[in-house]
């Protein structure tokens, strides 16, 4: 029996569930480095002597591969368990760095695309979804807290990687373009150790486990919450899946609207703001992004998932409107509004797996989450296109200052209203999509197979 097998990850009796989150955080902190990719941008430009777009493509490929691998690998991950998925994510993410370092060393940009973009991107997607459903199973009473904990790590990954990579680039030599290879190799080694520790310590709850003294709440407190399970094949046939796809797409697109242009935006709104101060603003937004993932997702356990997204999308639209109307009146107001908007962006990412669990149950929530992440990939392309396209067109007309961004802000407000409507249309999943009470059990799992009725019943309950 392989140490990577799902059956080898079942927690021993009395295992404290609070020992599981660090495994998830170890993986997400590592793969969250992708948000700090910009640290390599200038050294890579110098190394390859190519255009900004050619270098930006590396990040875009990685994000597209994240969505694709999460979508297609989710079902495999559910079948094989989190440890095997984390091990695969480790191999891909670390190999991605190694291949990219080889590409930089040989001066071949296409090898960097293949390494960091394609191979690393697969590691991103599998790594992103692998601990989420496990944590949901450990925290059926607080799924928002569970997903917030894991996905906060992804936001935190950039906060760690950005200063760390900057230090490494400086430490390995005076010219950053010549320090990229050793920096990438060092990061690969660090991530290999960290992610392996995560894969080793990850544990899934024993069949039938539930938190002591916890009983599933009666339906009514949260009308969209169901105790039934829906398999991924059925989930993608429901309108709820596509409504949540729109919800995630609009929330991410709107958040990117600010994040993409944060530094030039504050300088255009307020000509007195220096580049250093603008960098401080970007740092503050990073904290909002990470903090929002944990705080808002945890809050959703009390508030309910639908109401939380009403807040993200409804209040978010109002804040965007406020930014367009009075954002230029004071720096403090501008910073406060954008801070909350970006915290909603992070919160939207972290709360969506818990929303999926409410609607589709926890049986294949990881696989369903993976399919939904294609909305992220789509928004990653659409968001910057909208913001940059409008800003470029306005700039060409000779518009300057805050007016440059006015149409973008109004567009993002409208995008959020679309998401708000989609969220309002979400209803509980029709019973015809539910799995029968006794869930069919794979034959390679003797413990589960021996007690199919009990397992099915408990899964439904939790």
């Amino acid at each position: 029996m392989s140490v990577l097998d799902k059956s080898r990850t079942v927690a021993p009796h009395g295992y404290n569930r609070w020992l599981v989150p660090p495994a998830a955080l170890a993986v997400h902190l590592s793969i969250g480095q992708v948000y700090a990719f910009s640290i390599f941008k200038n050294p890579l430009l110098d190394r390859f002597g190519t255009s900004h777009t050619s270098i930006a493509v590396i990040f875009s490929i990685a994000i597209v591969m994240l969505g694709l691998s999460a979508a297609f690998g989710g079902k495999w991950m559910e079948r094989n368990g989190p440890r095997k998925a984390m091990a695969l994510a480790t191999v891909c993410w670390v190999s991605g760095f190694l291949v990219a370092a080889l590409g930089v060393s040989l001066g071949q940009l296409w090898i960097v695309y293949l390494g960091y973009g394609v191979i690393g991107g697969i590691g991103l997607g599998i790594g992103y979804i692998s601990p989420v459903s496990t944590l949901i199973k450990w925290f059926p009473d607080r799924p928002g807290l569970a997903t917030g904990l894991a996905i906060m790590g992804f936001g935190g990954g950039a906060l760690v990687a950005s200063p760390l990579a900057a230090r490494l680039l400086k430490a390995y030599g005076p010219i950053p373009s010549e320090s990229i290879v050793p920096t990438m190799l060092t990061l690969a080694a660090v991530y290999a150790v960290l992610m392996t520790c995560g894969a080793v310590t990850i544990r899934i709850p024993a069949p039938g486990w539930k938190p002591q003294g916890w009983t599933p709440p009666a339906r009514g407190a949260n009308k969209t919450q169901s105790h039934a399970n829906v398999r991924v094949g059925n989930a993608v046939r429901t309108p709820q899946f596509y409504l949540l796809w729109i919800v995630l797409f609009t929330n991410v697109t709107a958040g990117i609207g600010i994040l993409e242009q944060a530094s030039p935006m504050i300088q255009d709104f307020f000509p007195g703001v220096t580049e250093l101060t603008a960098a401080g603003f970007v740092g503050l937004l990073s904290l909002a992004n990470m903090g929002g993932r944990f705080v808002w997702s945890t809050t959703s356990d009390k508030l309910g998932r639908k109401r939380t997204y009403i807040m993200y999308l409804g209040v978010g639209a109002a804040l965007y409107a406020g930014l367009a109307a009075v954002g230029a009146s004071a720096v403090g107001l501008f910073v406060a509004l954008t801070f909350v908007i970006v915290s909603f962006y992070g919160g939207g990412f972290a709360t969506i797996p818990a929303y999926l669990k409410d609607l589709f149950g926890q049986l294949e929530v990881g696989a369903i989450h993976g399919r939904l992440l294609t909305a992220w990939s789509a928004a990653g392309i659409a968001g910057p296109l909208i913001v940059n396209g409008i800003a470029d067109a306005r700039g060409a007309q000779g518009v300057t200052g805050a007016a440059l961004y006015l149409p973008s802000l109004v567009t993002m407000c409208a995008v959020l209203v679309v998401g708000f409507v989609a969220n309002m249309l979400v209803r509980p999943v029709a019973e015809r999509f539910h799995e029968p009470t006794a869930v069919p059990v794979p034959t390679d799992e003797p413990v589960l197979a021996a007690v199919p009725v009990g397992v099915g019943t408990t899964l439904k309950e939790s």
């Binding site: 009796h13 170890a26 950005s162 520790c197 995560g198 069949p207 101060t277 503050l284 021996a450």
Partner: protein, 58 residues
């Protein structure tokens, strides 16, 4: 907080009890160590970012 409520099926209980106590203890120790590592990394990242963000208010 801890996980003590589980199926009373004898097969499930036996499967869990088969896990050697030593392995359980080492995993617990490793998980606690990992908490320290990821917590320190997060604290480092947050501190560095707060320092960077402080430029906004100076």
């Amino acid at each position: 907080m801890t996980s003590d409520t589980r199926s009373t099926s004898p097969v499930a209980v036996r499967a869990a009890d088969d896990v050697p106590a030593q392995v359980g203890a080492s995993v617990r120790l490793m998980a606690i160590g990992l908490w320290v590592v990821v917590g320190s990394l997060l604290a480092y990242g947050i501190f560095q970012t707060v320092v960077k963000a402080s430029a906004l208010f100076s």
